[in-house]
Subunit: 500 residues, 4 copies
Amino acid sequence: MNRETFWPGDDDKLHEECGVFGVFGHQDAAKLTALGLHALQHRGQEGAGIVSFDGARFHAERHFGLVGDNFTRRAVMDRLPGHRAVGHNRYSTHGGPSDRNIQPLFAEFAGGGFAVAHNGNITNAQAVQERLQERGSIFQSTSDTEVILHLIATSRGLRLADRIIDALSEIEGAWSLVCLSSKKMIGARDPHGVRPLVLGDLEGAPILASETCALDIIGARFVRDVEPGEMIIITPGGMESLRPFAPAKPHFCIFEYVYFSRPDSVIGGRGVHAVRKRIGAELAREKPAIADLVVPVPDSGTPAAIGFAELSGIPFDLGIIRNHYVGRTFIEPSEAIRDMGVKLKHNANRAVLAGKRVVLVDDSIVRGTTSLKIVKMVRDAGASEVHMRIASPPTTHSCFYGVDTPERSKLIASRMSVREMADYIKVDSLEFLTMDGLYRAVGEESRASGSGRFCDACFTGDYPIRLVDFERKTALEDEERVAARTAENLVELARIAKAG
Amino acid sequence: MNRETFWPGDDDKLHEECGVFGVFGHQDAAKLTALGLHALQHRGQEGAGIVSFDGARFHAERHFGLVGDNFTRRAVMDRLPGHRAVGHNRYSTHGGPSDRNIQPLFAEFAGGGFAVAHNGNITNAQAVQERLQERGSIFQSTSDTEVILHLIATSRGLRLADRIIDALSEIEGAWSLVCLSSKKMIGARDPHGVRPLVLGDLEGAPILASETCALDIIGARFVRDVEPGEMIIITPGGMESLRPFAPAKPHFCIFEYVYFSRPDSVIGGRGVHAVRKRIGAELAREKPAIADLVVPVPDSGTPAAIGFAELSGIPFDLGIIRNHYVGRTFIEPSEAIRDMGVKLKHNANRAVLAGKRVVLVDDSIVRGTTSLKIVKMVRDAGASEVHMRIASPPTTHSCFYGVDTPERSKLIASRMSVREMADYIKVDSLEFLTMDGLYRAVGEESRASGSGRFCDACFTGDYPIRLVDFERKTALEDEERVAARTAENLVELARIAKAG
Amino acid sequence: MNRETFWPGDDDKLHEECGVFGVFGHQDAAKLTALGLHALQHRGQEGAGIVSFDGARFHAERHFGLVGDNFTRRAVMDRLPGHRAVGHNRYSTHGGPSDRNIQPLFAEFAGGGFAVAHNGNITNAQAVQERLQERGSIFQSTSDTEVILHLIATSRGLRLADRIIDALSEIEGAWSLVCLSSKKMIGARDPHGVRPLVLGDLEGAPILASETCALDIIGARFVRDVEPGEMIIITPGGMESLRPFAPAKPHFCIFEYVYFSRPDSVIGGRGVHAVRKRIGAELAREKPAIADLVVPVPDSGTPAAIGFAELSGIPFDLGIIRNHYVGRTFIEPSEAIRDMGVKLKHNANRAVLAGKRVVLVDDSIVRGTTSLKIVKMVRDAGASEVHMRIASPPTTHSCFYGVDTPERSKLIASRMSVREMADYIKVDSLEFLTMDGLYRAVGEESRASGSGRFCDACFTGDYPIRLVDFERKTALEDEERVAARTAENLVELARIAKAG
Amino acid sequence: MNRETFWPGDDDKLHEECGVFGVFGHQDAAKLTALGLHALQHRGQEGAGIVSFDGARFHAERHFGLVGDNFTRRAVMDRLPGHRAVGHNRYSTHGGPSDRNIQPLFAEFAGGGFAVAHNGNITNAQAVQERLQERGSIFQSTSDTEVILHLIATSRGLRLADRIIDALSEIEGAWSLVCLSSKKMIGARDPHGVRPLVLGDLEGAPILASETCALDIIGARFVRDVEPGEMIIITPGGMESLRPFAPAKPHFCIFEYVYFSRPDSVIGGRGVHAVRKRIGAELAREKPAIADLVVPVPDSGTPAAIGFAELSGIPFDLGIIRNHYVGRTFIEPSEAIRDMGVKLKHNANRAVLAGKRVVLVDDSIVRGTTSLKIVKMVRDAGASEVHMRIASPPTTHSCFYGVDTPERSKLIASRMSVREMADYIKVDSLEFLTMDGLYRAVGEESRASGSGRFCDACFTGDYPIRLVDFERKTALEDEERVAARTAENLVELARIAKAG
């Protein structure tokens, strides 16, 4: 847990905050869950947890680090018996290095044990937590997910399902949940359907997972997406589908297609890799370049680069090599070894780049710091021109629905024009995909026609779900600012009066 | 260190056994070494070590696991002061989980401390060790490298350099060494030059490294390859180059181009990635296929696949996704979860492959077990035809020069014809690159013209350096077999005589 | 945490379940707490925790193992800044190896943070917990102490002090508490005053601790005992003493004098060591023996043995040597090495014992298994006679007030007469102190005159505080037994009717 | 291994540097060795190791920390199969925290494996090591024991026994050894017999151990002491006793009786506890005191205090309580918490001491720092007079035979008279046992009559064995001093000449 390192690091990406998985009725429930979480590792690498149920008791294991480093040891897996299990990958380090924040969270209710794994973010968690604390609830984690447990615990509903519906009706935000009680496994997706959740089947055992790649790894059959606003209740007797929440227009996160989801997943009927190649093709059509070579920033820029190369006819090549051994904990740079961060992960392939006009394709630009270094590295390797093409529109707004984004002022696109950004990262040209281009790549005619189906707030600022906590915090800060200014004015008036 | 895992794993590749690095005269010597070892991590992942010298004392840190997990913590790096350092990445688990086998090895000689990092394999280590033990030397590791230390210790040479030359003159095999004494850093490469070793320069500080990618990461300038049979002695006063060993025809390992080296390295004047693309092009020319898609087995098959696609005109696409989070310790498969090994690392991208005739490009086939699973996975994902193309000739012989190969009988190509292999892995067609094709890709006209420059024993069985220990062992086994047969015959004779 | 050991172990003692400590207003608050807990280590060795408050935030460290192994590292102590701290030693392993059960427990109330450290046992915890869960409280630990937190959280009181009084008024049992809020440190002792709690002063900083030995170690002045039923509220402005609970006759645990407390502590005005010596003298008077030597079972039998020797005139000597290096985790005995448990801790000193008639003095007998082995060891070392004298009456009943006792049926004195016990442990004579003798040793005339001041339930079964949970459990078991018997009878009747 | 602690610590004692144990021919060999080492834990607490032999292979486990914390886990013990084992407890931290210094040391000789465990100190180790390094031996540890391995390895003897005799003939100093080869277990004791070594028997399996308490714990029979200069060779066929070394007058360490050995051990036919009681009686006779109470500094002063009390008729009582939970790693004192070191381990029992004239009995005084604090603590607890009586003569010289002593200038008795020491530690009177008194306690008439049997160099400076390395070092320092003074003189002369 010691994060004191000498090593320069840099990771200028948005990060998905979680992956969820559950299986009901299979002798290898915990092992399948570990495999599923491994396939979903890209959605969160800080820690992972599994809760299993053996018919009588619940068992929990939560560990910092990768699934493959923790949930592979026989001793750990032997402590997770039973035919039912749910699991969770966690990205965020919110709340510090305490395993109390690693999900699935678990509570012993009056009616029995209950585990919940959550992907998303509850936008009114703070407000609800304060209300619950007023009535005497004690919170143990700093995870927004814990409000769900307390809302269920304090619901007056008779049956567990009613109490869960009660609880979920009080929260706002993005939530794809997989829950396990002593009788049931429950999957639920918020009415906007911001985060993905799919239903699968392995030899008759129902599976819930964030993405289809988690079904593939265990050889499970993809059944269908869990629908926005749907709650699926799985018991030994079968499966029930409810629509208990107030309906809303769907708003699936379009950035899942751009970067978050694994390319081999199929979401909303669209293969993610194929969408990314179409994005590349749209980009080549909208923002062509005269060049000798299309080079991806690996690995996230690769599919779009292939699409760009195919449509433009410019050859594709691996001009940048990615070192996959790079650790995730290289933080404080040493004084004497500066600017090495990007090289820990990437190296320009001089033999490929020297003397070439290069189209460099990346999926997005967040702070711009990494782009700056990558471009310098490519030029140092001898590229004669660098034309940067970005496989998404400029990222101008923060996400509040389960993605770790910097605050808005840190997003380069919120502060600079495309021209200014091009100067900053020192490219010969810089172009972004248009919003309409992005919508075309996901199969819509344009943003206008498709906006009812996707959340694109990080590109547009059109937030489809209320940001209760954020607005309260902003209002409070505004009040404080007004009060401070009033006080200053009064002091100034007094000074003038006195002077006069 | 607990390797008891439930998780199915499989890694059907040959493995380089080591990477070496050294820097002389830089204030960040140990940190630069850590960065260099990180860039060379593909040459060995079991453990890594660094020995530094601060002008008065030597300091050593040796750890199991990745460089990025151990040599990034400030506490570890603070224990490695000084302006000179050498380091080593280790692959093999020979000798079990003891840090006594993690290099650089170190000894306190009568004349002072001495550290050595070795990439390669000493083919007469066992014979030399027995001779040294007879005279009273005590061995502490099970590493063949330790014989070098004892040979230096027992040499009657006056100066250290003479004693090192003495020692290296007694060993046979492949050895690229980086050594550090209290006065000097020494690089040396066996007369055949089997393993790579390059010389670089960072702001006047000489660097020795296995590959150029370790120079790139720290921004060092590539000076030249250390020549086969060359010994370079670096002191504060400058650099001296000696040729103290009996000369030999060079035999650089051609498999470094096929798989071991990093694609962004330049070896013998050839960019590795470019060689691999040429291999792909040669393969497309020699062994074409009628297909819709060229798909690499990532990541090692990717450059050849790009080369194949370019020459053949068949589109290139990522039909298999690699999960880079896969741990390295997934061993014992559980009974109930079989055949999942390959899926931990790879998943077929159904949306890309369904209904397509696919050319699948991989760098080599070792046991064939992984190919079998990959092909099945690709077919399960809907590919209508699978044409496997291998970017090297059939691997028919074990390597004794620093590569972890299974014994010969485990190599599928030593037991089966290409036709039989195709049946075994269940492809529609299987083709390997020819020997001449491989030589053309590295810039020779043919094997006949280039055989003086490369070791290709793993493809041909033409071992350029004597296998002393192996021959002794084989001779011993033969003797035992003969003796056993003789004894059986005598018993049989006696039985007959008695019966008669 | 791996408790799989080959080593035979045995510890046939009752165990105090906790020690508590708090300091308010000293720059070294956490360090003083660590020292205090170290002095109280005999009250609990499983784990320890400290919560400090730095004026703005609370900080917590909880660790398995000894104080001296965890709270001595600078890194740990640096994470506990502030001038106020409370701490806790824990004995019991109830709830398994989870740090969620290591106290002080902490909760973030609507009004701010709150930490509590508890010595004792709440006899209606289960009943209260069920009531709280019905209304929606979620429990995180399996510690009875957590009900106090939830009762405070759900109290309708306005000020924190009122809410604590509310909460403590609802629980029954033994509780000596030290609590820390962002404004106050609070000490409280149940109206019966079963467990000790003292008030001290270090350079003006108030201290609360289980025993005076924790004051001595830091050089603090002993002020007075916290009274039964007293609640002390400490703020920067001073100290307030309340008596908010229904009054009760005091019942201080008399076994604290016999075994639990440290001999150098002073409790209720009596030096513990002096009481134990008086016990030995009473024992010599009541139950004399003709012998050559008085030998203690070290260390707990030593003071009584000295008292016995002084009064009887028989020489005192160390006939049994205790090995203080013995670990606390020697559990599963190996098949082949039986009966070695006692020898890990004790060895008979043959040179002292051979040929001697020995009075063996121990503080108490629980299961009798250790006595059996000790006696055998003493005889094997050559003692000609063994006269066992026990420095307390027979332990016939379980404790429900904060002591880890086996269930009643495991207590040898609940199943056997003194005569039978003597036969079982194979001594020439066995005698226990009388109840009146014990009361005389603590300064009373007799049990009759002193019974208003002490709890002696473990010797008499007179439980001064209701055992709510235990009675509910027993009643439930009784009901089940009656129901089962009724069912059997009905079946029998049916069988008869049918047969007839 | 992190020794950064805030906690004040102090341990002003001499420390035995090792304990050894071996068993040959028992199915539980490693477990018995662990138990034996546990009984010998007082001879070394830094680390412990066991090497076992299973008929084909050697197995080794070496761990920092207590036997009971490491050699009790089943996983560790399962890695030590076989019917033969040797083990070692290590005190010293020489060489830093590397397990290379934890014994038994092991070497793979040309003739097979060999393990050695050593108690003592080789006084010419440095000289021998330099000679061996000149001829090419490479040392891996910083332990003096390793020279034995190299001497055996380089011996020209034919049989192992001859080579061991060769090796041991070249070393000087104190050595009690237990060795294990693939055929034999060998015990050997230097001709002076400085350190103890005993032979035992468990159901026919021979045992070697430092003290008899290690036989008691496993129920083994004591056979006899291994004699000074004796070498015992144990094979499956039986036992052979040799006297292969040049004979010498015996010099058993008399301090083993004063402090090092466990009181329940029998050495040279004398029970250690009994010797200590006789020491106390001699002390009371030689140096009486008028007082109310005899109080030991526990635990080492206790037997002498009992002896003193018995002879003087002054009552014995426990006026100081020892906290046995104290860790061994409490080092750096915090600024604000000074002088607390002694209280971590001891607390004065005010109720016993207040108003009393106290005879305080301790076994020895090393630096005097602890005595100073103990006396202050006793006075603070109200003692009206403190008469210190020390159960040995003043410790005026360092030990070079296997005991960790400070250099001579740190020994308070080498710098001060008894009168000055009394002033320094602030007692009303201070008296030491006389040399003759000590010899009487071990059964001699006087030092004159008994000096042929014991080493008393720490009291007298009469070193019975040459201090080769120490004399070389001193000679070198003298030379350097002379050279420096000569140089100074020359400079001065030149200055004068110039000035003149």
